[in-house]
């Protein structure tokens, strides 16, 4: 991955300037811009990514800078978008594809499962699929039906894909650069409700390119580990703060990458704390939490004082906006789970 290395160097070389607040959407857009400026093979395509700048404005300004040949408003057909992107990648381009909302990626699933994820394997490495599939995901934005799905389980169950999701403005930039630099297809899950989250972040000295596959400890603690990602990170951070009042010192791990999964960081944390709760807003049954809890248990069984618990969305279709707050795991639900970690039996 020479591109990634080069990118990293370029970024490090940039002079650090005073950081101003930027949104996650802006950081993502900046990452696209920088990648496009560096590598003419990078193309952005999707519905409304041009003049409109995408419905979340992530691609704002790109068509002006790079023209319609590289920033393309496609016809309205997700399988067609991803399918033509496969052909473009076959010819050596690096498409960055936008799916407008999570639920609208479903029509593209045959292309994703049967081609994007398998082309490298099918051709014994002769035909890699360096592409990024951007999927705004999750709820909490008051969206009507089909605008708030958490579809990460579908992607995780598909070998051949990388699946990453940022939870901070810095990671949004760094992970996007890494995703574009990757020679494998990356499903890039963008937490909708964090698009407008802000952080002091200087676009002139952007965050370093994160290698894909590394979780990070966002908060150190000794009582138990909250394992989370994307939209649920702020919830867990808040819960960890609140837990202090109950005498619990919680560690928070932000996975950042669901595939590959960073067993090392996660297991190390749980071995230290002896207790863990997985938190995500995707439905619980068949969701990411099962896999995570199972692998943590496989690796840390004799360190565990209690079963790894899961706090997740209910096993229901995503509810209408006026009811979504009852569905989404909030601070209280996380703390309730922590309380159920069998403290009386503990060390």
């Amino acid at each position: 991955m020479t591109t990634a290395a080069k990118t990293g160097a370029a970024v490090t070389a940039a002079a650090a300037k005073a950081a101003k607040p930027a949104t996650m959407a802006q950081a993502l857009g900046r990452a696209l811009r920088d990648a496009m400026a560096e590598d003419p093979a990078v193309h952005v395509m999707g519905e409304d990514v041009g003049a409109l700048g995408g419905v979340f404005r992530v691609t704002d300004g790109l068509v002006k800078e790079f023209g319609e040949d590289r920033v393309t408003d496609t016809p309205l057909a997700e399988a067609g978008i991803l399918g033509t992107a496969v052909g473009m990648a076959m010819y050596g381009l690096r498409p960055v594809v936008e799916m407008q909302f999570d639920a609208f990626a479903y029509p593209a699933f045959e292309q994703l499962f049967s081609h994007v994820a398998r082309m490298r394997n099918r051709t014994r490495g002769a035909m890699p699929m360096p592409m990024v599939i951007r999927v705004p995901y999750g709820g909490g934005i008051g969206g009507v039906e089909h605008h708030s799905d958490s579809s990460e389980a579908y992607y995780m169950a598909t070998p051949g894909l990388h699946v990453v999701t940022p939870a901070t403005v810095e990671d949004a930039y760094g992970l996007m650069r890494a995703a574009i630099a990757s020679d494998d297809p990356v499903v890039f899950l963008e937490p909708k409700r964090l698009y407008w989250s802000k952080a002091a972040w200087s676009p002139d000295a952007p965050a370093a390119v994160e290698p894909i596959g590394r979780a990070v400890v966002r908060r150190s603690g000794r009582s138990a580990t909250l394992i989370t990602y994307g939209p649920s990170l702020p919830v867990c951070m808040e819960a960890a703060e609140a837990a202090g009042a109950e005498g619990w010192d919680l560690e928070v791990v932000d996975l950042r990458s669901l595939v590959p999964f960073d067993d090392t960081t996660v297991a190390a944390s749980v071995r230290r704390t002896g207790r863990a709760v997985v938190v995500h807003e995707s439905t619980g049954f068949g969701g990411p939490g099962g896999e995570i809890a199972a692998r943590v248990t496989e690796r840390c069984f004799h360190h565990l004082e209690a079963p790894v618990l899961r706090v997740a969305g209910f096993d229901i279709p995503y509810p209408p906006p006026m009811l979504e707050r009852h569905h989404l795991p909030g601070v209280d639900r996380v703390l309730d789970a922590v309380a159920r970690l069998q403290w009386e039996a503990g060390s």
């Binding site: 409109l52 016809p75 067609g80 479903y106 029509p107 209910f314 906006p321 009811l323």
Partner: protein, 382 residues
């Protein structure tokens, strides 16, 4: 092996060779009857307007006025935070209203997210029609009671539903036609293709109404298709295509009525493209100035469906000042009622989350229900 080393001259029957046409090569039918007119069909402002049905036109007019008012009122409700979002059909009322009026009681309407107005024109309570967009539930009415499918958001996915329902009704021997609505952008989806093909193969009693309003959010028609018209897509399925001026309520009504009648008679499906224009932004959340100029919008304002009909009917003395006033008053009454009822908070029960996932709650859902109930009790909400 023997056969494949024979020369054709040696082959038995080779002399008598004449490529007879087995099935894959059946004589092709003439596509001419499937092709749409080269210009959108119009009635208003043409000689055809001489034979307008006065009663029907007055009804159409009243519904257009009401429809316009409904659109402006719903948009106003988004500003007041009473609707999560509203995709307005301002400028497209002729299509919305005609689609509703051509159907009989037992027929079915399959609207998209933009077509609340069609549902309302069909008789649905305006508040129920807005439930999805207010956000208290995904659908605010019983589709079977009204024979209106839920407003459909994933583009073009409602089209195969309409085909399947129409087909099922025909198998049962019921006199039912399904009319399905979709946008110009939606025609690019695979589901559009599959639905039209199934409909034609099955000769299902279904009418596809494409409202070509020029845009799919920001993407103009020219980036959506290179076809002579969207109606020309009909040819590839072996069904007739009709191109109509979507702002000419009389023309849209006539073309749709013909198509519905044809379907009812067992003549199979029809694709209708109504050329219209989305006067408002995609939704209240959209900023249309990013992708189109005001001049274009202004040009279309001069081709307004309400005004076009009003002028024609007034000129032909089908409509008088009284009727115009009455239509407006009724529209204002509807708007006031809508405003008032939408200003009341809907009654919500969080426990509904678990009620209709399955016919019977699974043990798993009962556990989760108990968890939520405990939370709500703790909050003191219930």
């Amino acid at each position: 092996m023997k056969k494949s080393t024979m020369t054709v001259q040696e082959m038995p029957g080779a002399a008598a060779y004449r490529p007879t046409p087995p099935p894959a090569w059946k004589p092709r039918t003439d596509p001419a009857p499937l092709l749409p007119d080269s210009e959108p069909y119009r009635v208003l402002g043409t000689d055809a307007a001489g034979r307008l049905d006065a009663a029907l036109m007055r009804r159409l007019y009243a519904e257009l006025v009401r429809g316009r008012r409904y659109n402006t009122q719903a948009t106003a409700l988004t500003k007041q935070g009473r609707l999560a979002v509203y995709p307005s059909s301002t400028g497209q009322e002729a299509c919305e209203v005609a689609a509703a009026l051509v159907l009989q009681e037992q027929d079915w309407l399959f609207p998209s997210y933009r077509d609340t107005l069609a549902a309302v024109a069909r008789g649905l309570d305006p508040v129920q029609a807005l439930t999805l967009l207010r956000g208290d539930w995904h659908t605010g009415y019983d589709p079977r009671e009204h024979r209106i499918a839920p407003l459909c958001t994933p583009l073009a996915t409602q089209l195969p539903h309409a085909v399947g329902l129409a087909h099922a009704a025909r198998l049962k021997g019921d006199d039912v036609v399904a009319l399905a609505m979709v946008g110009d952008g939606g025609t690019s989806e695979g589901d559009f293709h599959e639905a039209l093909n199934f409909a034609a193969v099955w000769q299902a009693p279904v009418v596809f109404l494409v409202q070509n309003n020029g845009f799919a959010i920001s993407v103009p028609l020219a980036k959506q298709t290179a076809a002579p018209s969207l109606a020309h897509k009909a040819v590839g399925y072996g069904m007739p295509g009709r191109l109509v001026d979507g702002n000419d309520a009389a023309a849209v009504h006539e073309v749709l009525a013909e198509a519905v009648e044809r379907a009812r008679r067992g003549g199979g499906p029809t694709l209708v493209e109504a050329v219209t224009y989305r006067i408002d932004a995609h939704t209240n959340a959209d900023d249309a100035t990013r992708y189109r100029g005001e001049a274009e919008v202004e040009a279309w304002r001069t081709h307004d469906p309400v005004q076009l009909l009003e002028r024609e009917l007034t000129q032909r003395a089908i409509l008088d000042a009284d009727a115009v006033r009455q239509a407006r008053e009724e529209a204002e009454t509807m708007a006031a009622d809508l405003r008032e009822r939408m200003n009341a908070d809907p009654v919500l029960d969080p426990m509904d989350l678990f009620t209709h996932v399955y016919a019977e709650k699974t043990a798993q859902l009962r556990e989760q229900e108990a968890l939520l109930r405990a939370e709500l009790d703790a909050e003191g909400e219930r």
